[in-house]
Amino acid sequence: MNNILRFIALATLLLTSCMKWETGEEETFAASPSGLFITNEGNFQYGNASLSFYDPATRKVENEVFYRANGMKLGDVAQSMIVHNGVGWVVVNNSHVVFAIDLNTFREVGRITNLTSPRYMHFVSADKAYITQIWDNRITVVNPRTYQITGYIDCPEMTMETGSTEQMVQWGDYVYVNCWSYQNRILKIDTRTDQVVDELEVGIQPTSLVIDRNGKMWTITDGGYDGSPYGYEAPSLYRIDAETFRIEREFPFALGDAPSEVQINGAGDRIYWLNEDVWEMDVEAERLPVRPFLEQRETIYYGLTVDPHSGEVYVADAIDYQQQGMIYRYSPTGELIDEFYVGIIPGAFCWK
């Protein structure tokens, strides 16, 4: 009996040992003056988004810099990031937050909350920025100085449920935004009145939007999917004149293609996109290129950017979407210069 009680006492001691928690320490960073931020989406609903910073000069990458600098997680689905006046703004979609960070220390300097489901941010001025959203028929107007929401832009023919506004470009007093999820439009917003003043129908689901040096906007549709009640069609690349807000030229792809991620170089004279391979085209071209800029490397590319200074091309490989993704860096002529691991599902880039 005593032996049994002793055994129980010992077993209890062994069994109840506590688990160990690593509480985030705040690391001090001094980032190089220029470089590339990579927003890693992480897995939806697992809160494991992260931010990476790569210095092309030293070829050094630092991962999880937001977590390491701030001792807290970046959140759930880091969608995009932009830099304005020396501050980085990271849009964390399913955390309903936009973090403002110091570009050298990666420390948080402020945050915008009370958002529905933010996707992208665009600065109209130092006092006014727009934040697009999915699952909301409004674009949020914020004052970045106070981190406060100052108003909303109602988008026509959208409900909360069908709301989807994405990337923004500006031409003069007008901001243009592509509407993606079960949408087919580009909206035109007057930044003086914060109202939608016009819209332009393109193909099904325009995924991304850039503007070139000639004031021509480029968007690329994904064409929907087979079985979609919204329709399924061959995707297209569109050249749209920002001044007249009219489609100038449509470059169709084959049905079943899934082009995405139209990007532009620093000079604004070459566009790039993903369609299994990486493609490049002069903005003056009148037909799609025949051969890709880079051939697919036994994987599905997920993100794309072009160094605005060097013209080097960076491609993201999310691999199985459950591990650290890989970024490949190519010279402007397509030679592999470097490759490095970042976070889970590297989806978007931002140049410092």
């Binding site: 999880e64 959140g75 759930d76 995405s260 490989d317």
Partner: protein, 681 residues
């Protein structure tokens, strides 16, 4: 709240002592006789089965089967929170590789493939068995990890009976249980109801976010980890179970089981969510009815059984937000409706040293899934979703042979038809034999091939469903040893060890596409192997003191052995994410006269959150140990039996996570009062 519970408990126990009647209700459970090898049922030849004790199932009314399995078996329970989705997985496989039957009818969601064990109150289950790996082929196909067999049984009531249990716990949790029974020589009737509700707003330290302190110019001058409450986690679950059994007494038994669930649960906000809980409503509602009619026809050397059943499930998922005008507006509205018709026929025939069985099971699923409302290009409205039907037929034949008391051999052949696709033949072979009569040492071995068909969402979900998916395929090998010793009324000690090795190929994973949605593909080959240990000890320490100890341990490496998905893929050869390599449980129960003390402990080793097993800051979930304790006292009054119980969960107030970004509760308490009136005869 906690202090008040203790106060109530102490006062109640003191008062009860005063009024306690002479005839103490002995809480001791008789120490069972050791099963001698010669008495083993032929159906169990070579089978690796864990039977969950009925005392464990009836431990307390607030428990779901997820809670029971987490502390009393070696299988991995992945819980997204308290009263939140909880899935179970055997041996390093996925939850959809666990087939679950209730009174013979498969209750895995045909859309998702898995079963939410947090939706099964353990008080509704009278018999629960885990069939590990190969052993599941006796019951059903598709159990690449194994099968969980749940059933109800006649209450063996004599006349009218009533039992009522009231639970009151932390976070304003209320659990009510009522059972009415009636029985005579032929009829057994039972009605059970459970209602559980809680705002479930437990406090936890949020280490994933920080609150900032600002100066007047909005500069951050300080920050801290906030202590938050679990936001948007409330639940209200009602379960009703009606059973009617009729026994002719001449070898025919009829049964009716009808189970109704009405669940309304919020989906908790992530630790990394900066939204205001009052601005969002994220909710899942479910109405499910499951009914089974059964007939058993028993004769001395043969048996026939037939079952018919029906399942209706209506599920609603709504994610709403108040855009600022005080009116909640829909962001996501999805609905699904599943109707399943079930039929089964079984036959058994004993011939000397042989047992032959045959079984045919049919499940006809009719599914409507409505996932998103959209506005078409022409301006009219439409819904994204799918409607489909699928017939799932499974038939099996088996021959079991026991040439001598010491040896048994069993062969099972199963064939399945899902829609218009036949599975290849699913064979399973089992052998067992007595190695030593002293200690009842037995060896078991089995091997099986198995297949799991894609779920309806895998095939048809919009967007992403992939009609070209192949079934997942697997081979499993099992070898085990077991022993049992004891003396009736004094002690019993039993244990088993088994080694398993299984290969699953064409494992289905949902991966994003370049179009921004996910789509399933047959991508991985997985090699899961390891060891499962179980032991059980019952000792009568003195005539009034009894001790039971049960322990399980499993070591389950589950490795991705597929082809790399790209040259950069680091996941090959690594442990699957969210599958712990080590799990263990220990349950100790000490009974003295009318007192009973229960101690429960479980352990999950570190789990990786990435397929590459990277040790980044969020790349792993720390090891955790959970300790729960329950003290119970029974009273026998002239008019009723009473039971008072106090359960303390997470005794050491551990901060832990089962899934990333899902907070779990710290120490919490629940107090139960059970009344079973004694009717005058």
């Amino acid at each position: 709240m906690m202090r008040r519970f203790f106060y109530i408990l102490v006062v109640a126990l003191c008062l009860a002592h005063v009024v306690q009647a002479q005839d103490d209700v002995r809480r001791n459970i008789a120490i069972k006789e050791v099963t001698v090898f010669g008495q083993r049922p032929m159906k169990d030849i070579g089978v690796q089965r864990t039977r969950i004790d009925s005392a464990v199932l009836k431990e307390n009314v607030s428990l779901s089967m997820a809670d029971v399995l987490a502390f009393n078996s070696s299988i991995f329970v992945k819980s997204y929170g308290r009263a939140t989705l909880s899935t179970v997985a055997f041996r390093g496989t996925s939850p959809s590789h666990t087939q679950v039957t209730w009174n013979g009818m498969k209750i895995n969601s045909p859309m998702l493939g898995m079963t939410d064990f947090s939706m099964i109150p353990s008080y509704f289950i009278d018999d629960a068995s885990l069939l590990h790996g190969t052993s599941s082929v006796n019951e059903t196909g598709g159990g690449l990890g194994g099968a969980v067999r749940l059933s109800t049984k006649p209450a063996q009531a004599d006349g009218f009976g009533l039992q009522y249990v009231q639970g009151v716990g932390s976070f304003k949790t209320f659990d009510e249980f009522l059972r009415l029974t009636y029985g005579d020589d032929h009829w057994q009737l039972s009605t059970r109801a459970v209602y559980s509700s809680s705002p479930n707003d437990y406090k936890y330290r949020n280490r994933d976010k920080k609150e900032n302190i600002y100066d007047d110019e909005m500069n951050i001058i300080g920050s801290y980890y906030p202590t938050e409450r679990n936001r948007s986690g409330s639940y209200k679950d009602l379960h009703l179970l009606q059973e009617v059994y009729y026994n002719t007494g001449r070898g025919d038994r009829f049964g009716l089981n009808a189970w109704y669930i009405n669940s309304n649960r919020e989906l908790q906000m992530l630790t990394t969510d900066y939204g205001e809980a009052s601005d969002f409503d994220n909710r899942q509602r479910e109405h499910t009815f499951r009914g089974v009619l059964s007939w058993d026809h028993l004769r001395s050397d043969w048996k026939l059984a037939a079952k018919a059943g029906y399942i209706h499930t209506w599920m609603a998922y709504d994610y709403e937000r108040d855009p600022g005008n005080g009116i909640m507006q829909t962001m996501t509205r999805s609905r699904s409706r599943i109707n399943t018709i079930y039929a089964q026929a079984d036959g058994e025939y004993y011939l000397d040293k042989w047992l032959f069985t045959a079984s045919v099971t049919a499940h006809q699923h009719m599914v409507e899934s409505r996932d998103k409302n959209i506005i078409l290009q022409q301006g009219n409205k439409a819904v994204v979703g799918y409607d489909t039907n699928r017939m799932e037929l499974s038939s099996s034949l088996s021959a079991k042979w026991r040439p001598s008391d010491r040896v048994g051999v069993s062969a099972v052949l199963r064939e399945e038809l899902f829609g218009d696709t036949f599975s290849p033949l699913i064979p399973a072979l089992f052998v067992d034999g007595v190695i030593s009569e002293r200690g009842n040492i037995m060896a078991k071995a089995s091997v099986s091939r198995n297949y799991r068909f894609p779920t309806l969402n895998d095939l048809y979900f919009l967007p992403g469903g992939n009609p070209d998916l192949k079934p997942e395929r697997g081979w499993t090998y099992d070898v085990g040893l077991s022993f049992a010793v004891g003396r009736e009324g004094v002690y019993s000690l039993s244990g088993s060890a088994s080694w398993f090795d299984s290969y699953v190929s064409d494992w289905i994973l949902w991966l994003p596409t370049t179009k921004g949605f996910f789509s399933p593909r047959n991508v991985k080959d997985v090699h899961a192997y390891g060891v499962e240990l179980q032991s059980s000890l019952d000792v009568a320490l003195s005539p009034s003191v009894q001790l039971s100890l049960d322990g399980t341990y499993s070591w389950t490496p589950s490795r991705n052995e597929g082809e790399p998905m790209s040259p950069a893929d680091k996941s090959v050869g690594k442990q699957l994410p969210y599958v712990p390599e080590h799990t263990a449980t220990v349950t100790g129960r000490l009974s003295w006269r009318t007192w009973s003390l229960l101690y429960k402990w479980n352990y999950y080793s570190e789990r990786y959150t990435m397929s590459s097993n990277d040790l980044s800051l969020s790349g792993r979930l720390p090891t955790y140990y959970m300790n729960n304790i329950t003290l119970e006292k029974g009273f026998s009054l002239p008019w009723a039996d009473l039971s008072l119980k106090c359960a303390i969960n997470n005794l050491f107030d551990e901060e832990y996570l089962s899934v990333l970004s899902r907070p779990m509760p710290g120490i919490n308490y629940e107090f139960f009062l059970g009344i079973t009136p004694k009717w005058k005869r």
